[in-house]
Amino acid sequence: MSKDVKPEEIETHKKAFEEMVRRARAGAKPGDLFAADIAVYIRNTIKKEFKGTDRKELRETVLEADTKGVPLRVNYPYPETKELTQIPPTLLLKLPQLPKQVRFRFVGKHLLLVDRENGLIVDYMKNALP
């Protein structure tokens, strides 16, 4: 994909890539990437990082974001119309570093892994936010 393309090309690329990945990961299920030990580590990190007022603020930011209706389903697209909640930088610096194509995203109290190229939900972890 070139670095200065037209919107139609972005759209076509995104759809084609989405289909390709969806087919390739047809059997993907929750917990494939957020494996049990990783999930425990992430939960503990969030819990440690956000205490008292900080946690209250994070909860407010995350819960007030327009993410209602985002499906908690692997291999489903994150709806384009929904907000991409900011991950607090102080937390992001403590979470495991991901390849640049994959992103953490909060949806309510749940933590998602989303493919930035095609918007597909790669994995999710329920109630990651205490």
Binding site: S2, K3, P7, I10, E11, P89, R116
Partner: protein
């Protein structure tokens, strides 16, 4: 029957209010069309001239009116490029969205070969980095140089270690007179709805201070605010280019000037060690203007 007539009355009232508001805003724009535009900027030959818009991508008439006002001001103040503070496309990133919320709105500026440099907001997909007219060169964070100014566009939505490392490295190796960072979430803000992004501030502010960043522009808040310098850095919020959160600014100790009564955009001119700015509302009224001296130069 009573209920029905009450309903009819309510609808009529709402329609009337809507119409009145619409006519008012149109009148305000129409009136200023006949008035000469007042530019409070030096308009020097070799200066760096640019405009700033934020939170634009609504595709509404109001966004269009701001764009029209920018075109009018460009006739007097020939700015060469535009910085976008994020939330470039609300509600979707399809080809139609790009058309409706960006290309058609800023067509005269795009036709004049003006470059837009975008940053990503919390409503923007990362794929916008590939879009030809956002000049991000495929990156979610990037820098570019104009005259004696280096601009750093950051992705405040996802400030991970890679980006932090990149920023530190890029700033440290650069000796440009002006280092200007722009991104979506404001480290300092007097907004009721969002307020200061303290988490972001905790990470980026020490890097800015250490590496001599002079000015920071942000959006996210749908109003204009100029903050009092914080630890030697000038902060501005320009997030009312397409949406307005009227009455959202609670003037605080850090506020130097704020405007939340209409949409607005900024014009900037950097001449040597001085940065001149002018903030203009949708009706063409100047709501703030002034000149700042490069804080590093001031200290030297």
């Amino acid at each position: 029957m009573k209920r029905l007539s009450a309903l009819v009355m309510t609808i009529a009232l709402l329609l009337t209010c809507g119409l009145v508001q619409d006519v008012r805003s149109q009148k305000a724009v129409a009136v200023s069309k006949n008035e000469p535009l007042k530019v409070n900027l030096p308009i020097k030959k070799d200066s760096v001239k640019f405009a700033i818009i934020g939170d634009t991508g609504s595709g509404t008439d109001k966004q269009q009116q701001i764009a029209d006002m920018m075109v009018r001001y460009k006739e007097t103040f020939p700015f060469e490029f535009v910085l976008m503070m994020g939330d470039n496309l609300y509600g979707g990133d399809s080809a139609k969205d790009y058309q409706k919320k960006f290309e058609s709105v800023y067509k005269p500026l795009l036709d004049a070969k003006l470059k837009f440099y975008a940053t990503l907001g919390n409503h923007d997909e990362a794929n916008q980095r590939l879009y030809e007219h956002f000049n991000m060169n495929g990156d979610e964070y990037y820098s570019f140089k104009k005259g004696n100014v280096t601009f750093y566009s950051l992705n405040s939505n996802y400030m991970d270690k890679k980006q932090v490392d990149w920023l530190e490295k890029e700033l440290a190796k650069n000796n440009t007179e002006w280092k200007i960072c722009f991104f979506h979430h404001p480290p300092y803000s007097s907004g009721k709805a969002h307020g200061s992004d303290t988490q972001l501030r905790e990470v980026v502010e020490p890097i800015f201070i250490k590496n001599g960043v002079n000015v920071v522009f942000a959006g996210h808040e749908h109003f204009y605010e100029r903050l009092k310098p914080q630890k030697g850095i000038y902060y501005f919020i320009s997030g009312a280019g397409g949406k307005l959160r009227s009455g959202d600014v609670q003037t605080t100790q850090i506020t130097a000037k704020a405007f939340d009564q209409d949409l607005s955009f900024m014009l900037i001119e950097i001449v040597d060690d001085q940065m001149h700015f002018q903030v203009i509302s949708r009706s063409g009224k100047t709501v703030d203007s002034g000149v700042l001296t490069n804080p590093r130069k001031k200290m030297a």
